[in-house]
């Protein structure tokens, strides 16, 4: 069973999200819940990245977009990292076009620090 784990950064951004992009903020978790259902149905993050509303970013990060009900929606992204071994979907951050570079950088850093931590833990386990 895949679980969702929001980071403090994600929760902070969600709380401070501008009211004028309210519809986008609603559509992103809507798409997230669809993606989550697909993972529960044994879908893989790699396959999901070919489906339109989920976009592949560097370092295994995926960006879920705002597509959904409503016209003239602003391009926004919810950045997630699927930890396939632990079956955890980390919600890293959300943003729009203006914060895209920073959001991707932050997401890549999150993914690499998570992988480093996992490798360290594995080594410790192996060493007893």
């Amino acid at each position: 069973m895949w679980t969702l784990e929001p980071t403090a950064e994600y929760e902070k951004k969600q709380k401070k999200w501008p009211k004028k992009y309210h519809r986008e903020l609603k559509n992103m978790p809507d798409n997230l819940s669809t993606f989550h259902s697909a993972l529960q149905m044994r879908g893989t993050p790699q396959l999901a990245a070919q489906t339109g509303y989920v976009h592949a970013e560097p370092a295994g990060v995926l960006a879920i977009d705002q597509s959904g009900p409503g016209a003239g929606l602003k391009q926004t992204r919810l950045y997630v990292y699927p930890d396939v071994d632990a079956r955890v979907l980390y919600l890293i951050t959300i943003g729009d076009k203006s914060s895209q570079q920073i959001d991707i950088k932050l997401s890549k850093e999150f993914a690499s620090s998570l992988l480093e931590r996992k490798a360290r833990d594995k080594k410790l386990d192996e060493n007893g």
Binding site: T3, E5, T7, P29, T51, P69, Y90
Partner: protein
């Protein structure tokens, strides 16, 4: 770095939505798009794009996009049929009594699960390999069902006299074939206590 884990987006938003009004709007939107979301999830599982579906259905990609961005009520039955068909599914309908209570519905689904489990057990026949696979699945299903029960029980308010939970279920899995479950609930059968599945 990371915080609490959630089993669904709804659970998460119940905890951290920017406002209660936002959470309610989100739930309403999801409820109005339940079938469409299921279709998109199935398309995601298959790794198919909107264009793949459009090619199979012989329509434009923008038509599929419009359908996916819409509401269940706006979808034509014919569209639902061809979309599901292009994914390799047929559709079935279930008409249920609107007055059915949640408890009756849970019982109904529990019997459906029981029937399907029996079918799986029957499928094994005398084949040891299938029997092992089905047995492993039963263990997994047992664990997940108890986990769901635990999750729902955790949503109950605490008992007013001592703030203790009405139901306490602890799951400890020491291996894929060994799950120990400890319960503390007056309403549960004694046999559930320290039940060990091997």
């Amino acid at each position: 770095m990371a915080k609490k884990k959630y089993l669904s987006v709804s659970d998460m938003l119940a905890d951290n939505a920017p406002t209660e009004e936002f959470r309610e709007e989100f739930e309403t939107q999801v409820a109005k798009r339940r079938v469409i979301k299921h279709l998109i999830a199935m398309r995601t599982v298959k790794g198919m794009s909107q264009k793949d579906i459009a090619d199979q259905v012989k329509c434009s990609q923008s038509r599929i996009s419009k359908l996916e961005h819409g509401l269940d009520d706006d979808m034509r039955l014919g569209d639902l049929r061809v979309y599901a068909h292009s994914l390799g599914f047929s559709i079935g309908f279930l008409f249920s009594d609107r007055k059915i209570t949640a408890v009756e519905e849970v019982k109904h689904h529990a019997f459906c699960i029981k029937r399907l489990m029996d079918r799986l057990a029957h499928l094994a026949g005398r084949d040891e390999k299938i029997a092992q696979a089905v047995s492993a699945f039963f263990g997994e299903a047992f664990f997940n069902l108890v986990k769901m029960l635990q999750d729902s029980a955790n949503k109950l308010p605490p008992q007013p006299d001592d703030e203790s939970p009405y139901v306490r279920i602890e799951i400890a899995a020491s291996g894929p074939d060994q799950i120990a479950i400890e319960t503390d609930c007056d309403l549960m059968a004694e046999e559930l206590r320290e039940l060990v599945v091997r």
